[in-house]
Amino acid sequence: MGSLLRNRKFREIFLQAFVISVVAGLLIAMVINAKASLAAQSLTTGFGFLERSTGWDFSFSVLPYSISDTYRKTLTIGILNTLLLGFLGIALATIVGVIIGLIRTSKNFVFSSLGTIYVEVFRNVPLILQAVFWYSIVSHLPRPRGAISLGDAVFLSGRGIYFPTFNIGVTAFLLMVLVLVAWLAFLLFIRDKIPTITRKKIKISGWIAMPVIWLLIAWTAYEPGTPLINVPALKGLNFRGGMRMPPELTALVIAIALYGGAYIGEVVRAGLMSVPRGQIEAGFITGLSSRHIFTRIRLPLAVRAVLPSLTNQYVQLMKATTIGLVVGFSDFFMIISTSINQSGQTLELIAILMIGFLIINLSIAYVMNTINRRIALKGYEVKG
């Protein structure tokens, strides 16, 4: 026995077996304990509850819903809400970030200090505080009667922001988005599999076909006899028609866009700064205009340098959408926590929550890494 303990190989295997069995034992103990406490509350385990109807209401949904929907549908709506919030927030944060990044790299230091002030203010205050701040601003906007009107088409009120929409229904709209996404994904994958000239032809015909397909979808979905554009109008105490963006969503989108914009601005700045001076000077020597130096040299190289850290920021922002609960936005997390309160199926719902977030985050990382690989320049590496 003594010689066995002195044997290094044996010691290593023994240590690993010990650690793994302790972890496994802990997990089993937790499951047994959970079963016991669930049995004490006479709850059945398993995913059967997904088909039960929920019987409770929530604040916002991208799809039409009712309180008699099943848990399965309600959870799906939660995921879609989170995706919508994440998409809007991340898209706007990217726009803000690019603008801030450009301002901060300006040679004119009075100009760039505007960017610095922005970044320092918005990055150093917690996102959740910014969210509740914007929520109280947005929900203190005037009532619909006194709503702030922008060209009589968009109305800002405490009940939400009202936009005009096309009268084509949600399904048709989602279909249009889907077509666009599919096309962009296709564009990403055809690179270097097809010769350049064919690729260009495919690209051009695709971009021409896109509006045609959209028009076709819109035309089939459009109900004759209704006006094409649905403009919100004040009827009685509230607006009718158009699309309403509820204050919860508005506040969260503003907060994520401004907070994320500060972080992305720093990423963009680092990317622009990482482009070696020699590349830019080479552009000057070849007689390119400063606009061309920017669009043909600096920007493409910066985009490549930036993508990995941008992916990271996107994943972080996606995770940050969970704070929607604090202003009462019915995102995935809020739906899950309400479901737990109402159904008591704690463990199953937590598992769904974790798997849901894993899938969302892994998909973001996958898409961004694919883009990163596709646009990588062979034999050239910018230090990030």
């Binding site: 290593e12 240590l15 690993q16 077996a17 650690v19 793994i20 972890v23 937790m30 304990n33 959970a34 406490s37 669930l38 040679k107 004119n108 230091f109 009075v110 100009f111 200090s113 505007l114 320092e120 203010v121 990055r123 150093n124 205050v125 917690p126 996102l127 959740i128 505080l129 509740v132 701040f133 109280s136 601003i137 203190h140 995770k319 940050a320 969970t322 704070i323 609960l325 604090v326 997390f333 926590s337 737990i340 704690t346 463990l347 937590i350 929550l353 974790m354 977030f357 894993l358 985050n361 892994l362």
Partner: protein, 360 residues
């Protein structure tokens, strides 16, 4: 006879001419500069006017707030104790204040490199944190016993931050070393654990800790909800920090460790004398940055039902006459966060600059 060699540098443009070239180089630059200065001046003027000139300060002057466009700081004057101390008993507020001062002093002290040894930093934090807990909790030396359920406001924020740091930091070192272990079983298991925690939003982990763990743990192990949440937060923090430390460990040239091996040092000697000191030096900016993020994230505990500074801010403007003054309350809380987070992140930037010296 030797002649001093005078190295002639090309003439550097002075500050003034550099400014002139950058700010007024072209007509467009001139315009941008002037517009920006005007914008900055206007913003500054509006802010100073709002915050200082047209503002109302005393709580008795609240009725005047309706006639001015400036800030109504009366709400802070009247309710600052709620914001800073939460439900802490009124007569004992001095204890909460003193405890915060002690903890802040501890944080400031640990920024000085004199404390950067395992012995000194642990001693500093154990003393600082112990004193903080003693002052807050009481029960000895004639101080009344105040249970953590009644802690609130800034003190609770600082308590959560400090305990997460004090539990999370050692844990992160363990996790980083375990993930780099040569034993595949341990390395894989730790990797899985770290990646799982890092892929989840903090809120879901805090929520699980607050609501779900009572199902998973036997009653004697559950503890108070506050401590469960802190434990969950600390694990989350440790997983992120472990990756920072691991990055620092990976940057050490392998010759360093091999030199230790040839000298006959064992694993722990190599880890504590060679690897960790260099790893900390390599990743110090990232580590400080993680503290910055964590301080901001303490505000998330408000969602799982704790009365930290954001929640106490809600309570401060939630009653009757103060409801219109939510902006002032939020600005006040934002300013408190800003002071902490900004100084910490500036310190991180300073370290980054300082550590770059001597590296070429």
């Amino acid at each position: 006879m030797s002649e001093a060699v005078i190295i002639q540098r090309p003439p550097q443009p002075g500050l003034f001419s550099r400014w002139r070239r950058n700010l007024f180089g072209s007509p467009l630059d001139c315009m941008v500069t002037i517009v920006c200065i005007a914008l900055l001046a206007w913003l500054l003027y509006r802010f100073i006017d709002w915050a200082f000139i047209s503002s109302i300060w005393a709580k008795e002057d609240e009725p005047l707030c309706r006639e001015t466009h400036g800030a109504c700081w009366s709400v802070i004057d009247a309710r600052h104790r709620i914001i800073l101390f939460g439900l802490f008993p009124f007569e004992e507020h001095w204890r909460s204040t003193l405890a915060c001062v002690v903890m802040i002093a501890t944080m400031v002290a640990s920024c000085f490199s004199w404390f950067w040894s395992t012995m000194r930093i642990s001693l500093l934090w154990i003393c600082g944190f112990g004193l903080f807990y003693l002052l807050m909790r009481g029960g000895v030396l004639g101080m009344t016993d105040i249970t953590p359920e009644r802690w609130g406001g800034l003190a609770l924020t600082i308590f959560i931050f400090a305990s997460v740091s004090i539990i999370g930091m050692p844990l992160s070192v363990v996790l980083a070393l375990a993930r780099r272990s040569k034993l595949p079983g341990i390395a894989k298991l730790t990797g899985l654990f770290i990646d799982l925690f890092r892929s989840l939003p903090l809120l879901t982990i805090l929520f699980t800790a607050a609501v779900i763990t009572p199902f998973l743990l036997p009653g004697w192990l559950q503890g108070d909800k506050l401590y469960r949440v802190i434990a969950g937060f600390a694990i989350f923090f440790a997983c992120y920090q472990a990756e920072n430390i691991r990055a620092g460990l990976q940057a050490i040239p392998s010759g360093q460790d091999e030199a230790g091996l040839t000298l006959g040092l064992n694993y722990w000697q190599r880890v504590t004398r060679i690897q960790l000191p260099q790893a900390f030096r390599n990743s110090l900016p990232a580590i400080v940055n993680q503290f910055v993020i964590t301080f901001k994230e303490t505000s998330i505990v408000t969602i799982v039902g704790f009365f930290e500074i954001l929640a106490s801010g809600h309570a401060a403007y939630g009653t009757g006459e103060w409801t219109p003054h939510y902006i002032e309350v939020y600005v006040f809380i934002a300013a408190i966060y800003f002071i902490f987070v900004f100084s910490l992140s500036r310190y991180g930037a300073y370290l980054e600059k300082k550590l770059r010296v001597g590296r070429g």
